[in-house]
């Protein structure tokens, strides 16, 4: 067998320790009050509302109205707008086009003692009030309301210069057409502003009298609308013209104090679990046990990295209590690969072969069991992610999830198993082969074989 250099162990060992340290504590530098984050640590994890407290609500069209995708987008944009107006920036919004549901989750700021989450939800679901006003201020004359508009959509036109700017088209009801004709006559070459709740979403100026109800809004001076801006505006106008009200189908609130408390508990639990497993593995398996524990640290740090945004290419992830439970569970099962291998090496040692030969045989014969066993866990984790996760190929059957808690469990479990393949199988083997080259560790007793041989 090809012997692996003794230095390999130390390189892998130090690398894993470095990864563990940085994934837990992160790397920051401070200039006065200003902190630059180089690597994100545990404190940068975005916690779910079950930990930091918050609100979750599911809205649906009232009376079981079957809303179109455009209408759902309109609902989404109005909720977006209102959340921003409520100064909530860190929110999650999941539209479910199959079942016409929209789920919103946002944290409950701990500094707001008298915050009333119930009121906040009610406000989000309230009927959108869209008004066209003369002039650009809110006290301007009320010209049209949302019910006069049938729909808004994005298209391109060919203007006098032969360019093709993106515009937002408006269509009106019969009633609306007359009202709009009167309005454009009165406010020709002036501004008509469109108000959603108390926010001005657009303030175009009238270029001509529009009598056929065929109107479009061109983008402002800076080269017109971008496609994104136009879609956003059309969605907002559509929200104002929605033919149905929203009802609150379900909602939940958790106060910040309760969640922080749970997080603290989970922290203690994971440290306790790590300590126990370290001692257990060291006593049961000695050298392979020690290696297993280092690998476990590596596995844990990969799991943390996958949720904290350590790697910029993995989008940050909202961590919930079941997510932490999944992580702790994968710590427990993580050493399984090492246990299977260590047991095999023990078996080999008792047949009286050389240490190197035993390690080679043991690692080889244990691989199929490890792979088969882990694949079943991967199957379960993937199903959890697909069925309970945000939009994916299964959404057509199950709808987008409204219970994000189980999703986090599936995610951390999957990451745990993959990390286990890297650390528990690959890195462990590298370390074990290398460390067994050290003279003082060449006693077979340290691997579970007979003491004197």
């Amino acid at each position: 067998m090809k012997r692996i250099g003794k230095w390999v162990f130390f390189v892998v060992f130090i690398l894993i320790l470095a990864f563990t340290y940085t994934s837990v504590f992160g790397i920051y530098s401070e200039y006065g009050d200003y902190t630059i984050t180089y690597i994100k640590g545990i404190q940068d994890i975005r916690w779910g509302i079950d930990i930091k407290g918050g609100v979750e609500a599911v809205f649906a069209p009232e009376d079981g109205v079957d809303a179109s995708d455009d209408q759902m987008n309109a609902v989404k944009s109005i909720i977006d707008l209102r959340l921003v107006n409520q100064n909530v920036t860190d929110y999650e919004l999941y539209p479910d086009f199959t079942n016409d549901r929209i789920t919103v989750r946002f944290p409950w700021k701990s500094d707001e003692e008298n915050y009333d989450p119930g009121e906040a939800i009610k406000e989000l679901a309230s009927t959108a009030k869209m008004v066209f006003r003369g002039g650009s201020t809110q006290d301007g004359e009320e010209l049209l309301t949302g019910s006069d508009v049938t729909r808004a959509y994005v298209s391109t036109i060919t203007d006098s210069k032969g360019e093709h700017p993106i515009v937002v088209n408006l269509e009106f009801t019969e009633d609306g057409k007359t009202k709009f004709k009167d309005a454009t006559t009165k406010y020709l070459n002036q501004t008509i502003s469109i108000w959603m709740d108390d926010t001005c979403i657009s303030a175009p100026s009238v270029n001509s009298v529009i009598s056929d109800g065929n109107c479009y809004i061109e983008g402002g001076s800076n080269g017109g609308f971008s496609a994104e801006e136009a879609t956003s505006l059309a969605n907002k106008i559509n929200a104002g013209a929605l033919p149905f009200n929203l009802k609150i189908e379900s909602y939940g609130t958790i106060s910040p104090s309760l969640g922080t408390y749970a997080l603290q508990a989970m922290g203690i639990a994971s440290v306790a679990a790590l300590c126990f497993i370290f001692l257990f593995m060291l006593i049961m398996y000695r050298v392979p046990g020690f290696v297993a524990f280092i690998a476990l640290l590596g596995q844990l740090s990969i799991s943390i990295m996958a949720v904290s945004g350590y790697f910029t290419f993995i989008p940050s992830f909202t961590m919930t209590i079941p997510g932490i439970a999944g992580m702790i569970l994968s710590i427990g099962m993580g050493v399984d690969a090492n246990i299977i291998t260590a047991e095999r090496i023990k078996d080999e040692l008792w047949t009286g072969k050389t240490l190197d030969g035993c390690i080679a045989n043991g690692t080889k014969s244990s691989l199929s069991a490890i792979i088969d066993g882990n694949i079943t866990i991967i199957i379960v984790a993937v199903i959890l992610i697909l069925v309970f996760g945000p939009a994916n190929i299964f959404s057509a059957i199950f709808g987008v999830s409204t219970t994000g808690l189980i999703y986090a469990f599936g995610y951390t479990l999957l990451v745990g198993v993959i990390a286990n393949f890297i650390m528990g199988v690959f890195a462990s083997r590298l370390m074990l082969r290398s460390i067994s080259g050290l003279k003082f560790l060449r006693n077979k007793g340290l691997y579970g074989g007979k003491k004197k041989s």
Partner: protein, 337 residues
Amino acid sequence: MRQKFHIDFIKKSKIFFCISLGIMLICLILNIFLIHTRVDIQFTGGTIVKYSYSGDLTEKQITDVAQEATKDTISFTFAENLASSDANSHMVSLEFTNSKALTVDEQNEVTDALTKAFPDNNFIVEESSSVDASKGANFFFKCLAAVILAAVLIITYVAIRFKKIGGMSAGVMAVVALVHDLIIVYFVFAMFNMALDDNFIAVVLMILGYSVNDTIVIYDRIRENRRKMGPKATTAEVSNASMNQCLTRTICTTITTMAAIGSVLVVSLIYNIDSIISFALPMMIGLISGCYSSICIAVPLWVMWKNHSDKKNSEKNSKKKKSSKTEKKSGVELAKE
């Protein structure tokens, strides 16, 4: 090969079957007559509001005021509030037994009534959840679909990977063990009077993966030993040897996994966090069951199936041989004539 244990699992399998069936039967009887299964509002629809308050109030005082403020029947649960540093802080959770979700206004009425009646007791809504019945049912079917899908995929995987030892029978028996574990998990929820909720589904799916994992490691050994021990060894011998060789691993892995989930359980018991207790406790028992069922249920059942089908096959083969011989004989006789 070194073998620490020499336990004849196959011979004792009838005892194991009896233990499992016995436990299930007792739980079933208790479940029907004494302890009824509770289903969380996540599935049935309904509303739960949790308040924290300080000071001494009798339970009667609170129930009267709250019940007055709503038409729905409320069931109350009282507890200490451990999250607060104040020793005299309490929790009360109100479950509205109407399956319709309570509107924000209706819920506010109850909260207002409580704060008005007890202005000095600092009533605060700590947690509230309100689910519409239709959404609850939808969620339930989603969970069911997830479980069935996972089971089908696992059987298929086992059937393909373990073709050499009769993949289909191995897959089916792995699933029998699995169903055994899931029933146990269900009874843990029922016996400890924990409501079936999304935690239940998470535990079910987790045990699904774990139980099959355990069984597969043993199947892997059986596949290997079948090759090593030669055709003379009976299925029972091969299986016994495999299980005994795997026993240390099975126990050690269960110990480390239990240590992990056990520390979660202990901490959440100390901190009194219901949502985690109802996750960790059934998971612990499910793990023990998963470890037990792969050794004491799945493999013995598989051996029984295997012996049965081998017998059938050999009978068929011997019949075929006999009949082909007689045919030949008659053929020869015919030629003679």
